[in-house]
Every structure is written in structure tokens, then in C-alpha cells.
Symmetry: C2
Subunit: 262 residues, 2 copies
DNA sequence: AGAATAGTGTCTATCAGACACTATGCA
DNA sequence: TGCATAGTGTCTGATAGACACTATTCT
């Protein structure tokens, strides 16, 4: 790049090409300058597993564009006036939106940044750059979600049955965001403890296996999966919890995630 | 979130609360509205391996703030007027900046998005959200880089000797970006073919091993690494290239990356 | 008693790590 | 000739996958 338009760098060289003067002087002069700026939003891929099926939270659009279509929840990052009031961080915006869209208190779900989508025409109204995030919600909390959404219609859509089939086409580039989120979660499933964000606080071996199967989309050998599970117990990643899970058959031991594990 | 400020969604509900009318009408009215927007930049963590040492490209800042400090190269994403002229995509901005900062033609390096940094005060001048990327450059191209950078002083800094030691403190939140980039590359090294972006077009077993060692920061058993290498040959990921690499001792077979591999 | 799931054992193939070793070209 | 590096062989332990099997509880 040429001098004068680097990122967080020398953007004010047109106002202060020599770079002299105090920093305070510099900042004061800096505000005189204005370049066009994009709107910045966060979009959320909120995932859970219900009925052994991977689900995503979708909102029905009431406005143009894509009126009536389904879309990922999201919202603008609040930037205040961008100078004296700087507004919220991107992370804070994502947490705030997640709480607002689900009606659940902040911290109810695992939330992480996914990817920033910045194609010039991704929103027909104007230039919008969106920082996509993914959130993993326990199935025990999922039923409470729609209640929290004010006005807008919301639903848990099945990835397999509703989205991949094309029955529910998504607005904007949200299909791409969703696909990337699923790919990411699949990838992290075997390398990070994300799976524990998709089961109840306490869970059985079969329940954890069910989450893996729903996310990856194929079945696992129950015996082999149990051995992996046992290793996690041995490593201190998982610990026994009191009680048994009563099903229609032999009750199963319940476990909980142990944060102090490897 | 509440109606009226969702991300790429219903931002115009204040102007068109009923959602009726044609989409064209809607877009026309939409432009009347303005909220404060952040500046958006791309920052680049450009990495290479020289002398068995992981290096990062740094630029010396000539302006406030952080005048005289070292920083990652970067620049604004061009958004045109954000309406009729939408400007470039974030990816295009990253590629453009990489070419401008290095003086190398586009496509000379592997480039991927890393993470978006959006703390409200990360730039003291104003609200700036930066989409950080990382780029992996072959060591054979690295020496040509500084020549391409106009005016600004640039250097290949050693991560170990210059940055981690604290000898070269970085401006803004660039240390965090750098740390995240290194973590990411380490992570991908064994799961993706990124290592092939850090060796010459043709390379020996020892050269590829050297890249792994420089990135991870520990030595590998030569014999064991060779077996991994051989498996990649067997899988078609790597193929023999003509010629031998002449060193001070026994010449070594050279190989090349084969894109059609697994 | 029978169904269904919880939970165990075993065999094989693959791979990482440790390490001893041979082969070859240059100084 | 000696040395440094290229390149090979072997052993062990950890793990994934396939699959057969036992144990326990509910209906």
C-alpha cells in the first residue's frame, strides 16, 4: 500500500503528512477527515441438537429485502459516535444479540467468532460487513428460546430436513455462513471440548455420542465411542456425576464436564 | 434483539415499519437513514521462514499514534460510497494490501482470514474494526519484499529474537494478532497443506522438516519425519521433482507439492 | 421371557516417538 | 579418511475401527 491509507496506521497522513506535532494535536486534526465507512453487523449461527438432529435458529424476515425468507439472527455493532463514544466491542455485540434473540441470559451458550463476510453486494441496501459467529446451546435450553424473541417469528430448523433440502432458502449469504459454521463445529468436535456445550449439564455416554452423530451425520460404534469417553474420564476431562439417567431400559451412569481437565 | 436494528436484516424498519411497498421503494427510503459506522481495515500477519527461524513482516510507523513503533501492514477496506459504488470485498482488500505492502504480484503467498478485532479502543483515533489475515510466503520470495514497500521502512522480524523477547513492541493490538496467527498456523500445520506455502516450489525432506521445526519451535526426529513425508508421497500429496539439492554433503532428492493429492 | 440398551473384551491396522543403523558425497 | 547428512529398519505404545460378547433393567 502507499502511505496515507494504511489500516490502523497512517490514515491521517493527508492531514499531517510530516507526522510531527503532539499526538493530541494529531488526533484533533484527524477527526476532520472522513472516508466512507461500511455498516458492520454480527450474525449468529445458533446450533443445538434436538431429537438426534442438528438444528439452527432461524428468524423470519418481516422487511425487504428477502421479505418472508428465513435468516440468521443478527444486528448492528453499536459504535456510538465512533469518537468520544466508541460503543461496544464486536464480542459484546455478539453476546448482546445472542441474549436478545434467544431471550436467554448472557453466558447461556458457547459463543465464538467464525468468519467475517465482506462481499460488496451481500446486502442489497448498502455496504454491510458482517462478523459471523457460532453459538452452541444445550438442548435443555433450546425450548425456551422462541419465547424470548419479541415480535419476530423464530424456529429451530433442521439442517438436514429443512435447510440442506432447500425447503428453507436463507436470505443474504446466510447459507454460506451456516455451512461454514457446521464445518467448523465438525472440525472442532474431536479437537476441543465444544461437544460439552451441546449436551445437558450432566449427560450419559450415549447422549454425548448422539451429539457427535448428529453433528457429523454418521453413526459411531458404541463400544469404541465408550473407550474414547473413558479416556476422557481418565484424563480428568469428564467426571462422574451423581445419579443415573432413567430411560426405557437399563439406567446409565451420568457424567459432567470437568473444566480442569486436559 | 429488537425489531429495527438487526444486522443485515431489518435496519430500515424505522423508515418502513410496515414492510410494505416494493423493494425498490424500500431501498430508496433506506438511504435516508444513517447510523454511525466504524472504519474497517485489514491487517496482515505475513510469515516466512528464513534461517530456520519464523519471521514476520513489520512496518515502522511514521505517524501518530505509536509513532516509531513497529506494526503489521494493513489498510482500509475500500467501500466506495457504500451505495452505488460498493467498493472491494474484504478478501480483495487483503490481497491488494498484501501486494502493495510486499511489492509482489497477487497470488504470491497463501492468504487466509484469521480473526476480526473489534475492541472499541484498539485505535486511539476512532473506532476501527480490523479483519486480520495471515499470509505465508515462500522464503525464496522473502528477500524481494522490502524493495516493493514504498517509503515505509519494513523488515523481517524474528518472532523468537525480536518480538517474543519484547525487543520490538508492536503497535495497537498487533501483538495479539501475531500470537493468534502463529497459533493458527501451528494448528493447521499437521492438518492442512499450509507448510507447502513456506518452502520453495521444490524442496527436500529436510527443508520441509525445517519449516515444521521453525513454526512449532521444537526439533523433530529426522527418521520419523521422513516416514510421514513418505506417506504423503504415497498418498499423492507430494511428488518427486527432477534434480537433487546440492548441499555441503550428500545431495538430497527434491519434491514438489502435488495439488491433486488427498 | 424378551427386548433394548449399558457396558466389556479382543483383534487388527495405523501411526508417533525413540533410537540404532547404513549409505553417499564432499572437504 | 572422516564427517555430515541422506536415508532405512525396528521396536513400543497409543489409538481407531470392526465386531463379538456379557450384564442389567424395564415391560
Amino acid at each position: 500500500m502507499t502511505r496515507g491509507d494504511d489500516g490502523a496506521g497512517e490514515g491521517a497522513s493527508a492531514a499531517s503528512a510530516d507526522g510531527h506535532g503532539t499526538e493530541a494535536d494529531y488526533l484533533a486534526r484527524y477527526r476532520e477527515l472522513q472516508w466512507p465507512r461500511p455498516s458492520v453487523t454480527v450474525d449468529l449461527v445458533v446450533l443445538t441438537v434436538l431429537d438426534a438432529d442438528l438444528k439452527v435458529l432461524l428468524i423470519r424476515r418481516k422487511e425487504h429485502p428477502f421479505q418472508g425468507a428465513w435468516a440468521l439472527p443478527g444486528g448492528f455493532v453499536r459504535v456510538g459516535d465512533a469518537y468520544d463514544d466508541r460503543g461496544e466491542s464486536v464480542e459484546a455485540a455478539a453476546h448482546r444479540e445472542l441474549a436478545e434473540e434467544t431471550g436467554l441470559p448472557e453466558g447461556s451458550a458457547y459463543l465464538a467468532q467464525l468468519h467475517t463476510f465482506g462481499a460488496p453486494d451481500r446486502d442489497p441496501r448498502m455496504r454491510v460487513i458482517s462478523v459471523a459467529h457460532y453459538a452452541l446451546l444445550r438442548p435443555t435450553l433450546a425450548p425456551f428460546v422462541t419465547a424470548g424473541t419479541d415480535a419476530a417469528e423464530a424456529r429451530w430448523a433442521s439442517l438436514r430436513a429443512d435447510v440442506d433440502s432447500g425447503a428453507l432458502p436463507l436470505a443474504f449469504d446466510h447459507a454460506e455462513m451456516l455451512a461454514m459454521a457446521v464445518r467448523r463445529v465438525r472440525d472442532e468436535l474431536d479437537r476441543t471440548p465444544v461437544a460439552f456445550s451441546l449436551v445437558p449439564e450432566t449427560f450419559t455416554v450415549a447422549e454425548l455420542r448422539g451429539v457427535h452423530e448428529a453433528v457429523v451425520g454418521e453413526t459411531y460404534d458404541a463400544g469404541n465411542f465408550r473407550r474414547r469417553f473413558q479416556r476422557m474420564v481418565a484424563d480428568g476431562l469428564i467426571e462422574e456425576a451423581p445419579g443415573k439417567r432413567v430411560t426405557g431400559t437399563k439406567p446409565a451412569q451420568v457424567y459432567r464436564f470437568s473444566a480442569r481437565g486436559a
